[in-house]
Symmetry: C2
Subunit: 193 residues, 2 copies
């Protein structure tokens, strides 16, 4: 029974994750304490530690909640279709503050637990999904098995989400930016024209 | 005479820039005060304000000192040669701490003066140099004038420097990563094989 009693509702989790991301995005991972997160989210530090064990684990779960990474890789029958499905606009369950990307990169260098969590929960699964789409495209004969760009596609697909705002002040999900980027750059690099 | 007297030596500037980058990388732009920078670099806040006027201006000059952006675009006769020259390993005059990339992205969202300075002093000049290399490659007939990837090349060339460490834990200047990336992905996207 105790496990049931301490389980947090989805609504409560949503508030906790949103509050955690907001604080860390604005102030930086190292500058935010569990006390401050507890206060900002109207929870107790004991609850936070019981549920997550560490600030790094809470931050990692906040980042992956509502997930930037789809559970299943799409399978539309073409690499173009799969990439459009995977990287096109999706409704966000948890609001990501504008400072978050920088705060995540900084936190990964400040804290090994954060770095490991972000890699294993976000970047590696994303890389695996992309590798699966590419493997299917190779099987279908769309992409050559020895195409040298394959090794770099995951980095290139993440780039607009991390960089575009800083470089050009744009949102990659607006005006079909990512879809155009896939057509103009990613597919041609893989030999698909 | 007064202008001469207040001019800082190159060595002093180097210390100031290095100290500023270290503090802001570790703590975040918003969490560092001019007082702390003055103390850490054994200078006076009055000197810092007289020379730079603001923390944002000091940060921007620290970032561009010793320059991530070359003054002149290379002109080797081929796009491959130009990109290898421009993005291959160069000795760094100012040490960039590992947390700096994240701190810069975060600071650009926290402070408009930083965002404008980083765009006008780093990203726009880099974009211009790359556009010049591409324009020459188009003139030489290496790249089609209407190649749709041209619009995205600057983003793609910056990506390893911002993302690779976070995604794969690697340094883009080691093991010829960037040179291989140019050959395997950037040039094929532009139709050069």
């Amino acid at each position: 029974m105790e496990a049931t009693m301490t389980r947090l509702t989805d609504e409560r989790l949503h508030e906790l994750y949103t509050g955690t991301l907001k604080l860390i995005a604005e102030r930086g991972f190292d500058n935010v304490t569990m006390d401050q997160i507890a206060e900002a989210t109207k929870s107790s530090k004991a609850t936070l530690y019981r549920q997550w064990g560490s600030k790094a684990a809470l931050f990692a779960d906040s980042l992956t909640a509502g997930g930037p990474v789809p559970d299943v890789a799409p399978d539309t029958g073409s690499l173009r279709g799969d990439l459009r499905e995977m990287f096109g606009a999706h409704p966000k369950e948890i609001e990501h503050p504008p400072e978050l990307v920088g705060a995540v990169l900084q936190a990964m260098k400040q804290n090994d637990e954060v770095a490991t969590a972000v890699r294993t929960k976000i970047m590696d699964p994303l890389h695996e999904r992309i590798a699966l789409l590419i493997a299917r495209a190779v099987e279908r004969g769309e992409v050559a098995a020895d195409c040298p760009a394959i090794e770099y596609v995951h980095l290139v697909l993440m780039a607009p989400f991390v960089l575009l705002d800083a470089v050009d002040g744009c949102d990659p999900q607006e005006n079909d930016y990512v879809l155009n980027y896939i057509d103009a750059l990613v597919l041609p690099a893989l030999g698909i024209h």
